[in-house]
Symmetry: C2
DNA sequence: CGCTGTCTTGAATTGGGTCAAGGGCCGTGG
DNA sequence: CCACGGCCCTTGACCCAATTCAAGACAGCG
């Protein structure tokens, strides 16, 4: 699975230290984590870990995007989170789990930091800033996942797409332009849609002033979009 | 909102102390929490807190069931978790949030312990056993919520109902009998279904040997049910 | 220029929501 | 003990959203 694996260099240490997971750690804890972190680069589509594998590490994404998903026994798979640079994942097993409860795959070329779960656990027991960071990350993920679940149950595909666009709209009114950070394929999965359904959702948003060209989305009237 | 509010008596302290959230706390932390806990009894259907309210406390359910849900702007509401006795909720805001991100309602007569969020936060910073308990609770909830989300996306209504039944089947094969702990109404919400859909799901499970009479579910062949 | 992979469009199907009516269960009161 | 009324649950009919399957458009790239 590893095509390259080593200590973090200066650039990587800086990236990691700015991460929301690490930025409030005590200097000692930060250094200990940075020293023990393994940096791994993987090509697109590699499996980072598979659900059911015994879990020895948590990860922090440095560059690229990663899919977290589970599969049904019929082979279909459902994404429940797309990780963006700076985020941690698999952190839910630092206390409790011994096996990964889901799979992770590189959606493009990624570079990530691998932190030994036991190290983090020990550190969290000794250093309250580490525990606090864990709690903050878990809370955040719990809230986001809950929101996703509720959105699925409450909103239709066009509404969810509109929500997604509005969340990353720089402005509150007037017009805006957004560039999707990844393939529509991935976006569809993260919204719980088949790719075709995403396509149709976009085209049904045309009437609300949304136009799509490749990865670039033009919104003519943000306020109007917010209504529906 | 409060119809009775006071310190925990011995019975209540015992209940709380056995809770998965509290059972591994240091004696000092446990006592401090028990001393500051407020015990509240509420009749069925009371609102415990409403989404958007400023959040000052987290809760631990002692008896009865509680719905956690959010509402869409059209007034429809979606449950995402049903709390059972012994569980904590609203714990996600101990670090981070200042307002409840969802609403909580008593599904029947409930009694619950109210813990001041700031107390818990301070305690967690000082006492690693408290932080650890928070981390464990958050991890657990994150995993369960993730599972729910994935189930929604991957499985049909009858499959989700079958899953629910199998999860609380004492045995692995042969026949089994389960008594639902609450109204079908509530079960429907927790599975993300309209009550009618739950009904239909049950009746479509008849062919798999599931028979329903009131709250009692008979499963003639657990192994057969597990297949579908 | 053709190729490969991504995206879109169309038609058929299905799962589940909604609305409206009927049935069972239980508590209350006669 | 039975009758009544309310509440929850079930059933049926209808409809809409979204998946699936299949085919075509489009882009980037050799």
């Amino acid at each position: 699975m590893l095509d390259r694996s080593n200590r973090a260099n200066n650039r990587e240490r800086n990236l990691l230290a700015k991460t929301s997971f690490m930025k409030h750690l005590s200097p000692a804890a930060l250094e200990s984590l940075l020293d023990s972190a393994q940096i791994i680069s993987l090509p697109a589509r590699s499996i980072i870990f598979r659900e059911g594998e015994s879990a020895t590490a948590i990860y922090c994404l440095l560059a690229g995007y990663a899919r977290l998903y589970r599969m049904g026994k019929d082979g279909r798979q459902a994404d429940f989170r797309i990780c963006t640079p700076g985020e941690v994942f698999a952190e839910c097993l630092v206390f409790g789990g011994t096996h990964y409860p889901y799979s992770a795959q590189a959606a493009e070329n990624v570079s990530l930091a691998r932190l030994d779960a036991k190290d983090v656990r020990d550190l969290a027991e000794r250093d309250p800033t580490v525990a606090k960071a864990m709690i903050a990350a878990l809370s955040e993920h719990l809230i986001v996942t809950t929101e996703t679940l509720v959105n699925d149950r409450l909103h239709t595909a066009p509404q969810r797409v509109a929500d997604y666009l509005l969340e990353r709209c720089p402005v509150d009114s007037g017009s805006a332009s957004i560039r999707l950070p990844f393939q529509k394929n991935l976006l569809a999965g993260m919204l719980g849609l088949a790719p075709e359904a995403l396509s149709r959702a976009f085209s049904s948003l045309k009437r609300a002033g949304v136009s799509v060209r490749g990865r670039v989305i033009q919104i003519s009237d943000v306020k109007a979009l917010r209504e529906m």
